[in-house]
């Protein structure tokens, strides 16, 4: 029995997979909700270049959130 073991990684692959699921999927889900809330908050504000920039940014954030959610589902083999 060996007393010393050489480990090259921090945690087991299973734990690391769950960490990735939360880090990517969880953050993706949060971003999805966050961007919807941001867009709703912009309603009623007068049109301006800043508002257009904000809307564009939130739309891109929304797409990025969808990619993160899709990637997580694909990584876990759910789809």
């Amino acid at each position: 029995m060996s007393l010393s073991t050489t480990t090259t990684e921090l945690v087991s692959q299973g734990s690391f997979d769950w960490f990735l699921t939360i880090a990517v999927g969880g953050v993706g889900a949060w971003l999805f909700w966050f961007e919807i809330r941001n867009v709703l908050r912009l309603r009623g504000k007068p049109t301006s270049p800043t508002k257009s920039d904000q809307l564009f940014g939130y739309a891109m954030g929304f797409v990025i959130a969808l990619i993160a959610l899709f990637g997580t589902a694909r990584y876990r083999g759910w789809i």
Binding site: V24, V27, P49, Q54, G57, Y58, M60, G71
Partner: protein, 189 residues
């Protein structure tokens, strides 16, 4: 009456000068310290360690904004330094994961190229404005955040090919949009 006279005779408030050496910029600069261990981890094939170091780099990116708020040391230089540090850290990390075959070559190359174009556009915008000002792009903030994630996905072997290729069109659209805003639209006064 006395109060009015006091106000009239008091000197005009001078703009607050923030030193370049402040807690927020120190946090920003500390992000460079994550790069040598990141290279070590990639070189040795330690995927989880590499993910950890790029995660720390990303978290420090969030912390510097918080430090600027807490210590009240926001400055134009700080914003520019943060943007430049983003470019150097994430650009370098992208090159490393690309060089070691952890991320697909062509999309990585396109992302680095577009990052360089974006930096050039910002330099032109500063010239147009005539002062050190960082163009606030809500879309680019999200894109940079996701690039950090992409590097983490490459180190974690999280569908790197699909994720990188899916992201390229988004980066192209955002850089094109920001190019129009910085080069063609009127600059704010």
């Amino acid at each position: 009456m006395i109060a009015t006279a006091d106000v009239a005779s008091s000197p005009a408030p001078t703009p607050r000068v923030v030193s370049k050496i402040n807690p927020a910029n120190a946090v920003t600069a500390s992000r460079f310290l994550t790069l040598p261990p990141f290279v070590w981890a990639v070189y040795n094939g330690y995927h989880q360690w590499a993910t950890l170091f790029i995660l720390i780099c990303g978290l420090l990116d969030k912390l510097d904004g918080l430090a600027a708020k807490v210590f009240d040391c926001r400055s134009n230089f700080g914003e520019l330094f943060d943007a430049i540090t983003d470019g150097i850290c994430y650009g370098f990390a992208l090159i490393i994961v690309m060089a070691y075959g952890w991320a697909p070559l062509i999309p990585c190359f396109i992302l680095i190229l577009l990052g360089g174009v974006n930096s050039g556009l910002r330099a032109v915008y500063i010239k147009r404005c005539g002062r050190n000002v960082n163009y606030k792009s809500y879309a680019m903030e999200r894109v940079v955040g996701f690039i950090a994630y992409l590097i983490g996905m490459a180190t974690a072997n999280f569908l790197p090919s699909i994720m990188f290729w899916t992201f390229v069109p988004i980066m192209v659209i955002v850089v094109a949009h920001d190019a129009k805003r910085m080069l063609l639209d009127p600059v704010p006064t």
